[in-house]
Assembly symmetry: C2
Homo-oligomer: 145 residues x 2
DNA sequence: CTATGTGCAAATCTTTTGCAGGCTA
DNA sequence: TAGCCTGCAAAAGATTTGCACATAG
């Protein structure tokens, strides 16, 4: 669904490994593969477990689906990824971890970043007594016109 | 989890039936029960299939879980409810259908309304060419402090 | 060497669906 | 009566888990 030869080059592998090292995550072969796929080209990415599993398979690397799930969870726990919930049936994982808005394309069920600098609140509900804001999720649902 | 005697009184039943009639939904016994539970007291409500199923059971009425699912879906299609996705593992349904922000209590996994008048965008990303905004979901995730 | 990670299959959980019988208009 | 609705059980999808084996530090 991406390119035709999405194999992992050295630069991508390096970037992936650096990303793992930065978070102190043990770099196993499978994790290196997934990391390279996630951050190898420096662009932000939004994946589901299935899409990442497919990407790994397409790149010629072997990683089991269960490990993809476990690894995505581990990357989230390590602060490397952010889980985004928009669909209910599926979890999306975002390589960009700052609070930022998303576009959700209802027809293709795709999730993309919306330009963060174009989102500004002039007023935001204050957190109730005894609580603090952990995160503000903004999902702009798009319909094809 | 709500009250101790959540049985359905006549006023609640009337309100529920009016709500169904307004949307042209055929009022079967089960739908009347669920409608009364949803809008019977005039307050906005956020339910999951399981919580509504439990509420029906507690009120002494019998509705199968499958019917709760089917009915929530039917109410959404009829424009009576709005589905809200915050958790990924579960769908929430909101009796308030206008676009408005939510508080999501991470510790109890509860969903509540946030005051809509306190949310204002001074700037919102424009929809990409060829698309229009279907809805803007704003979920303020709260952490107990 | 020891703790941690991986893979597979099975289990879990939410939600949907097929089908036979029931009920509304 | 005709068609939509309900209930049950089974199916379907996404995700997690148990356990034996492999591997990083």
């Amino acid at each position: 669904m991406d390119e035709n030869a999405p194999s992992i080059d050295d630069a991508a592998a390096d970037r992936g490994n650096a990303w793992l090292a930065r978070a102190g995550v043990r770099p196993t072969r499978q994790r290196a593969v997934l990391a390279a796929l996630l951050v190898g080209d420096g662009r932000d990415r939004h994946v589901t477990a299935e899409s990442l599993f497919a990407a790994a398979r397409d790149s010629g690397e072997s990683v089991s689906l269960a490990t993809v799930y476990n690894t995505l969870r581990a990357f989230c726990d390590a602060g490397l990824l952010q889980e985004v919930t928009v669909d209910g049936t599926r979890s999306y994982f975002d390589t960009r971890i700052e609070d930022h808005p998303h576009f959700y394309w209802e027809d293709t069920q795709e999730l993309t970043d919306a330009p963060a600098q174009e989102l500004r609140f002039s007023r935001l509900p204050a957190p109730p007594e005894g609580t603090e804001v952990a995160r503000v999720d903004v999902v702009i649902r798009l319909r094809r016109r």
